[in-house]
Symmetry: C2
Subunit: 439 residues, 2 copies
């Protein structure tokens, strides 16, 4: 074949950049079989040019100067694999205005600046592809944006952060405390030295922002996501949940109905028979409910050099096929054409409808349980299950664990406020939402 | 918006045709938001024009004459939702030569005649889209062909026939015999009056033919698939498998290595911890292993009016976007460009490497087990587990259940031949392959 060669540049030769380079070289012929074009990595941006590189990087011109890439008219596609919003936002904006197509694995950037980047890309007739930003190797962007285009999507619920899923899995399987499991994850490289973005839920919220926008055809709006991390989950909550037939997972949930959308990231009890409850370790999965397709689930490695490279290269193949096509023939950034993007009202957390797991410590004397259940009944909250287990570590108090049926969150807020004022209730009340839907 | 209207025709207004019509009408605005084009179902081919139609079909011209559709130059896209190869093959070929794009849910047709249909479509510059042919609402064609384009795919293993999965699930959960479970499936409409295609594995083999071609970039070759149905599976095999920690599923498996491909459909013991073991009832799932992405799993409804319509409409949206694009900008039928399709040698069943479940009935006297295990050892077959359970229904014989480690199938063939000649072995030996891979 006498194929056209397309020059690309990689911003970053770290984990993902190195993995991408490896896959590009291993599959150079396969990419040509698919697209009729050969890819050449012409330049790569690095922080330290003296750092030793793997053999596959031998004939690539590395530079620390972004201008050498952005000002090189022979480079048609830039893959940004650095992360963070600064200076990547500037770089990508400049690549777009120079007429270069962009591939990025950067969820923070797309979630927070996607609207302006897509508007600029539209204006300059280039593609910004971001499959690698969510779910690593799971092709969830393409699936929602293209493959489920015949659906009104009602909900998206995903385990989209491998670090928190690893920690929760280790807490369950090895009986570790949160801090022990976190330390172990850090040792294995599954958690950063500063793990705030992962365990605090920010990373999952970035991903949920993107998933919700393409699922519902709404603008990206990170500020709309209600976020809770997993640092409040204790080993005993995981134990009690298992006893009750549930696993605790850190879920990113987007739902819509005729009136509003809900966007939230928080620990969630999921029935053990549910497929999502069986997604363990660093694996990711996303469950999607559409009006035509019903429930579908997509499972795979959510991070790592090669799975992320798989997504980067899939984007690259799509771009190579459409290089000379009219912009009209491309899939719009958020699935619907820019003029058709329409915002939806946000349902605040207080107005969601959910079941709850509650754990509270009470003085062990007659009437305590009656007081608590009376307050719940006064707020129209009915109880599905209750456990009372003496805690050998705290002989003066008794833990009570409750599972409720679904109620409005503001009713639960008020009930917990009243329960916490009971003199026999000690300390803070733990409250975790429960996923009751089937699948 | 002042959008172009695109006329389409539906061949068939049965279950899938009716579902497609419903989704097209419900989502007409959404399709326009996605593509900038409005879809009008101009004609529908039906067998009996006097049959009452649902309200959404009220303003559609129904006809029993295919020529009214194929000769109508205002119709750009034909969706074939009839099934079977005759006369659909002729219809689709004529649609292609008339320059109409084709969407089909017809796995038998694509598996058996896809190569010639794609060649004709290539020549005439039209699209033949077939997402609905495999996995119902699970977008497995798009996933393999586009989203995993950065991978060498090593294996595809799927539960792709809802009827057999329903029957096996009911046998396990309700202790039914095969014939009882089949009768129940027929009553519920999950199995046809003539269930041969489903329970015999032909339907799954059609789907596997398609999956393998796009996973490996090989021509479609239905004749290469080794096929076993589920009618030989007994309630006791399912029981014994459960006791040993396995579920029996009807799997369609395609594997490749540097030398050859394996294509086979057969009942398979799968470890209960494996996600595929947990795909129950009429649900489908496909597990894909790629060199970059690792293991990914895609789960959803494998059949039914609306899930299949979801796939048909996704194909339609893709075609609408590319209506005026150059053929070069489209995804090739089998993922790689026609000139790059390359066949691979087939590994015959005798040369595969697999673990096995064996059940045999023996006279209960000393030395029988020693004779059997000696023959296995002589063929270098080692035993992982053995059960001996008196069977109250057959007091003169004792069932022996064996799980072996992985061996070459021809060694197992020879060993079973020798074992079956032992005078103490009664009746036929049941042999089921065992999936030992992780995930």
């Amino acid at each position: 074949m006498d194929s056209e060669t397309v020059n690309i540049a990689l911003l970053g030769l770290g984990t993902v950049g190195g993995g991408t380079l490896q896959i590009l070289q291993r599959h150079a012929d396969a990419i040509e079989r698919r697209t009729g074009r050969r890819v050449k990595v012409r330049r790569a941006l690095v922080r330290d040019p003296s750092k030793p590189r793997p053999p596959e990087a031998a004939d690539i011109a590395v530079t620390t100067d972004i201008n050498e890439i952005l000002d090189d008219p022979s480079i048609s596609i830039v893959a940004e694999l650095v992360g963070g919003c600064d200076p990547t936002r500037d770089w990508i904006m400049r690549a777009i205005t120079s007429g270069k197509h962009v591939i990025t694995a950067n969820k923070a950037l797309i979630a927070q600046h996607g609207n302006e980047l897509f508007a600029a890309a539209d204006k300059h007739g280039v593609i910004v592809a971001f499959e690698a930003a969510v779910g690593g190797g799971i092709p969830i962007i393409k699936t929602i944006r293209e493959a489920l285009a015949g659906n009104d999507i009602q909900s998206v619920a995903g385990i989209v952060n491998g670090t928190t899923n690893y920690i929760l899995t280790q807490m369950r399987d090895c009986g570790l405390d949160f801090s022990e499991a976190l330390a172990q994850a850090q040792e294995l490289g599954y958690a950063e030295a500063d793990p705030t973005f992962d365990i605090g839920g920010i990373d999952a919220a970035h991903k949920l922002t993107i998933l919700a926008a393409i699922a519902f055809g709404t603008p990206l709006n990170f500020a709309n996501v209600a976020i809770e991390g997993i640092d409040t989950i204790s080993a005993e909550d995981i134990d009690y949940a298992e006893t009750l037939g549930y696993s605790i997972k850190h879920l990113a949930i987007a739902r819509r109905d005729a009136e509003a959308v809900e966007l939230r990231v928080h620990p969630t009890l999921i029935p053990q028979r549910h497929l999502l409850a069986r997604v363990d370790g660093v694996m990711n999965a996303v469950l999607i409910e559409g009006d035509a397709v019903g429930e579908t689930l997509f499972y795979g490695a959510g991070a790592g050099a090669l799975p992320t490279a798989s997504a980067v290269v899939a984007d690259l193949v799509d771009i190579l096929r459409l290089l000379s096509a009219e912009p009209d023939h491309r899939v719009p950034y958020l699935g619907v054409r820019p003029g058709a993007i329409a915002d939806l009202p946000l349902r605040p957390l207080a107005s969601i409808h959910s079941a709850y797991y509650l754990r509270l410590a009470v003085e062990d004397h007659p009437g305590v349980v009656a007081d608590i259940t009376r307050i719940l009944a006064d707020h129209a909250i009915s109880i599905e299950a209750m456990l009372q287990r003496p805690d050998p570590a705290h002989l003066d108090t008794m833990p009570i664990i409750l599972l409720t049926h679904r109620v409005w969150e503001h009713a639960m807020d008020q009930a917990l406020e009243a329960i916490s004022r009971l003199s026999s209730v000690r300390g803070a009340i733990t409250r975790i939402r429960v996923q009751t839907d089937a699948a």
